[in-house]
Structures are given as C-alpha cells and as structure tokens.
C-alpha cells in the first residue's frame, strides 16, 4: 500500500512540474509566482474536497455520496447573493477578502450543518432517499438563489455572477494564506480522527460495541467536513457548472479512484490516497486542458461530465450486485 501511495505522490509531482514548467511564454519572474499561486490553490481545493468526501462517505456508510452533491456548493452562491442583496455591490466590493472569507466560512458552516442535519433526519437511513433529497434541495437552493439574483439590480447581479464559477485564475494572496490555514486545520483533524473513522466504518452497531458512539463522531466529522468544503469553496468558488442538474462530482471521482488504487478500509491509507488523487485530478486536469489541448472550457465542466457518468455507473453496478 505504501508503495502505491509513493507512486501516487510521484504522479502528482509530475503533474505539478508539468503544470508549472511546460509551455511557458514569457518571463519566468512573472510566470513562476503566478503559476505557483494557482498550483497552491488547486492543491488546497483538491485535498480539502477529497478528504471531506472520504469522511462524508464513511459517516453516511456509502460510496456514491459527496458533500457537494447535497447542495453544499449551492449554499455558497446563495450566501454571496444574500450579501450583495443586503450590502449592495458597492458595499460588497468594500469588504476585505479576509472578512469576506470569514463571513462565507461561518455562514456556510452554520447552514451546512443545518442542511446535513435536516437531510440525514429526512432520509432516516435510506441512502437513495438521502441522495435524491440532497440533489433536489440543491436544485431548490440554486433556484431560490437565481430568483433572488433576478430581484436584485442587474449591475449588482454581475458582481455575483463573476464570483459564482470555480476560478483559479485570480487568486488573492491573503485569501490563499487564510484558506491554507483552515484546510490544514481540517485535514489535521481528519488525520487525528482516522482510527476512530476506521471503527465507525465497521457499522454503527459494531462501533458502539467497540466504545465509539457514532452520534458524537458524526457531529465532529460533519464539522470538519463543513470547514473543509467551506474553505475550498470560499477560495475558488463552487466546483459546479451551475446551470442545471446536480452539482459537481469531483469528490466522487476522487474517492472512486482512491478505492481502486488503494483498496483499503483504513483511513490512514484512504485519506492520503484520496488527497493525492484530488491533487492529481485538479492539477493534472488543468494541465491537460490548458497546456496540452488548449481548451477554453473550464475543467469543472469536464469533471461534471465524467463524474456524472461515474456516478451512474457506480449506482447501476451497485444495483446489479
């Protein structure tokens, strides 16, 4: 297993090197800091979402759910819209990046915890109902957001729209530093919980029998998940193409690959493996799209496409089994 992790690390290093050094037209003292910033942002987002998804799948005992699928990304745009709505675009533009990040983070954590609590209660252990309710509530949040956006001034609407696609081109340095700290805290907590998550993945009964009451760990894990997803989304915008249908399947692709490359139930292996694959998918994908194919399409659209197909495959395969 550890050899596979090393192999993944090597692949990631190759992607990162390719991303930074291939196809440079311009002076290095401009390109290098620019690309390194983008690389750091991609890596942070990839790792945060991968770790969050692994934890989420463990606490909901399934392999096809992701936090984004449950409408979490949609919350981000809703919060942005509400902020622009209440402050006006001038007031919104006056917020410092750090303050905006803090507002976003706290609002997303509060709303996200509420959302998950409601969903988990509604579903009552029925996984299909959980996923479906999550997707539909995601659609509802998105629809409500769009409605709100139509009610605000067209010029203020522009402000929201420019922020509502995942973007890695204009990363603010301060923002990057703050979210790096937040993600580091989240990942550190996840790593600290790894053995307890192993126990939880045995099932609720077994976990209770082994002295690990699931309810408390669920709450703690949800907190970590919200922290990770919220910081990733506040940094880069939501990883969803946003037009219609369910939101991004990035986490799903990552965990599906992690289970294939490192087939293990131990979080000590799954967490780093998923984190590395998350980095590979985002950095490598961006490398392919930008440098090799010169496509103008955002990576998120392709992820949505492939991820949706993977989701359908996993869902139907699970049925057949």
């Amino acid at each position: 297993m550890s050899r596979r992790l090393i192999a993944l690390a090597l692949v990631f290093a190759l992607c990162a090197l390719g991303y930074v050094f291939v196809d440079a037209a311009g002076p290095w003292d401009f390109i290098l800091p620019y690309r390194l910033t983008k690389l750091a942002a991609l890596l942070l987002v990839g790792v945060a979402l991968a770790v969050a998804t692994v934890m989420f799948q463990t606490i909901t005992a399934n392999r096809i759910l992701t936090p984004s699928l449950m409408g979490f990304d949609a919350l981000y745009i809703l919060i942005l819209t509400a902020l622009v709505h209440s402050l006006g675009s001038a007031g919104f533009a006056g917020l410092s990046p750090a303050l905006l990040f803090g507002l976003n983070l706290s609002a997303m954590m509060a709303l996200g915890l509420l959302l998950f609590a409601v969903l988990l209660r509604l579903a009552g252990g029925d996984m299909v109902r959980l996923v479906l309710s999550g997707i539909v509530i995601g659609l509802l949040i998105r629809a409500a957001t769009e409605y709100l956006q139509r009610l605000i001034d067209p010029s203020e609407f522009q402000t929201v729209q420019s922020q509502s696609f995942a973007r890695f081109t204009q990363i603010d340095g301060t923002l990057l530093a703050i979210s790096a700290v937040a993600v580091a805290v989240g990942v550190g907590m996840a790593w600290h919980l790894r053995h307890r998550l192993d126990v939880l993945s045995l099932g609720e009964v077994a976990a209770t029998g082994l002295g690990e009451p699931p309810a408390r760990l669920h709450r703690l894990s949800l907190l970590v998940i919200c922290l990770l997803v919220a910081s990733a989304t506040s940094l880069a915008g939501p990883l969803a193409s946003g037009n219609s249908g369910p939101s991004s399947f990035f986490g799903l692709i990552v965990t599906a690959f992690a289970h294939i490359v490192t087939p293990s139930h131990r979080h000590a292996i799954l967490l780093p493996s998923a984190a590395l694959i998350g980095g590979i998918v985002l950095v490598g994908g961006q490398f392919l799209m930008e440098r090799l194919f010169h496509l103008s399409t955002p990576l998120t659209v392709v992820i949505e496409l492939i991820g949706g197909a993977v989701f359908l495959y996993l869902l139907l395969k699970r049925r057949a089994a």
Binding site: R129, E146, V301, G308, R319
Partner: protein
Amino acid sequence: MRWRGASGVDPVRALGAAVLVGLILLSLALGASSLSLHDLLLTPEGRALALESRVPRTFAALLAGAGLAVSGQVMQVLARNRFIEPMTAGAGQSAALGVLLCTVYLPAAAIGVKMGAAALAALAGSLGLMALIRPLPPTQPLLVPLVALVYGGVIGAVVTFVAYQGDMMQFLGTWLTGELSGVLRGRYELLWIAALASGVTYLIADRLSLLALGEDAARALGLNVGLVTAAAVAAVSVVTAMVVVTLGAIPFVGLVVPNLTTRLTGDNLRQALPLTALFGAVLVLAADVLGRVIRAPYEVPVATTIAVIGATAFVILLNRGRSGV
C-alpha cells in the same frame, strides 16, 4: 375522497377553468405599456399590440404549460414512477444539445431543421433514459428519479462543454432558462405542434392506462405494447423539444402537476389528462404573470419561478411518500 368525473360540472374543473380565464385576462392586461383591457380590445393600436405580443405570449404560456404537464404524466406512466418528468431527465437537455449542435455546425439551417434536430435529440435522450431505468427494481422507486436527474445533469454538462467550445455560452441561457418575454407573433407557433402531440396522447389515453399496469399485464390484455410505448415516447419528445426550441427549458411542470391531478382523479388517464393540461396551463401562466408583476419593468423568467415552486413541491412529495409507506 374521489369525485366522479365526466357527468355534470365538477367543482375542481370549474374552479380551474375560472382561475385560468382570470389569468388570461390578467396576462393580456399586463405589459410594458399600460393599457386597460378596454383600450386593448377597442382601439386599433391596442388590438395591434394585443395580436403582436400579448395574445401570442398568453397562448405560448398556455400551450407550453399544458403540453409539459401532459408529457410529464405520460412519462410517469412509461417509467411507472411518479417522480420523473422529461425536462430534467435528459429530454430537455438533449433537445438543447440538438439545437446547439445544429447552430454550431449548420448555422444557416432553417428553423424547421433546428426543430427536427431538437426533436430527434430529445427522442434519443428519452430512449437512452428508458434503457437506463428499465433494469431498475420496482422495489426502489426513488432510484429512478435519481438516475434520471444525474443522467440529465451529464447531458447538461455535454451541452455546456459544446457551448464553451463553440463560443456559444451567451446563447445557452436562452435554451436552458425558459422565458416568455421574447414571444411575439411568428415566434411561438411551433408550440401548436406540441399541443397536437399532447392531443395524440389523449387519443391513446386508455391504452396508456393499461400500460401502467405493467407490460406483461398490458400485453395479456391485447395491447400492442411496443407501438403504444413508441407513440408515447415520441409525443413526449416532441413536446419537450418544441418548448425548448421556442421558450427554453421549464423544469418540474411535468412533475408537480400530474402528482396533483392523480391525487384528484386517480390513475385513469382519460380523466386525468384534461385536468393535467388545465392545471399545467394555470401553473405556467400564473408563474409568468407573477414574474411580470414582481419586479416590473424587469421580468423574472417563468422557468426561475417554476423551478422554485417545483423544487419545493418535489421535496414535499419525496417526504410525503415516506409517511404514506
């Protein structure tokens, strides 16, 4: 309590029709230039305005609403599942893909060609969905809408991808968000084809009701299952494609309305379909009128309003089913 259909004036239909008439009058009276109904009908300029813009717009809402609601009900029979409707389940996105590909590769194509491309793409999309959900076990009814929504999302991602590569992103909104503000005389008549297609489903309503019993039972009762299914899928695809081509996608009408009417009439489609068409027209027209009033002179697209209503209703339906089980 189930009331008897057919004979006599039943209260629900009468109420529905009255609301519809009221909405039609409102829709005719509302617009950027404020004219009273009296002016609209009796002055020459008023009549010209009405014929050019307000009557077409009202008709477009009525036809689209009725057609979408009916096609949703038919699709629910075909899939034997209450939580599915064509616009969000791949047919709508496929139709958009058809128009988009046509616009990118055959920019000079006539509207008829685009319409045909949209209808064919919607047909292919619906058939693909049918093939996907066919093997799903009937014991897990929520699996069908889940697969359908994700399937629709995947096709939607293909649409976004093609739009980016073809530099068509700004047009995408017109097909993915249905709105009526651009409807003028000469720009909505395709919807009559949708109305025709929904009319066809009424002609085969009894056969579709048999189909709802299950394919084996229907076959044993002497039904040509293949032919009826093909006709129904074709009708659903045509309605969806025509609405997408003329107005853009309007989600959830086909989900919310049939679930409401079958609560009133039961599963007999001959009774349910007219009521479904009526309620569908009421829903879309009401959403359009609301969208015109709430932030005049700007407008909220009808699809946005209905998405909020529809998604809320979907969440309620999902959890209502649960307490019923």
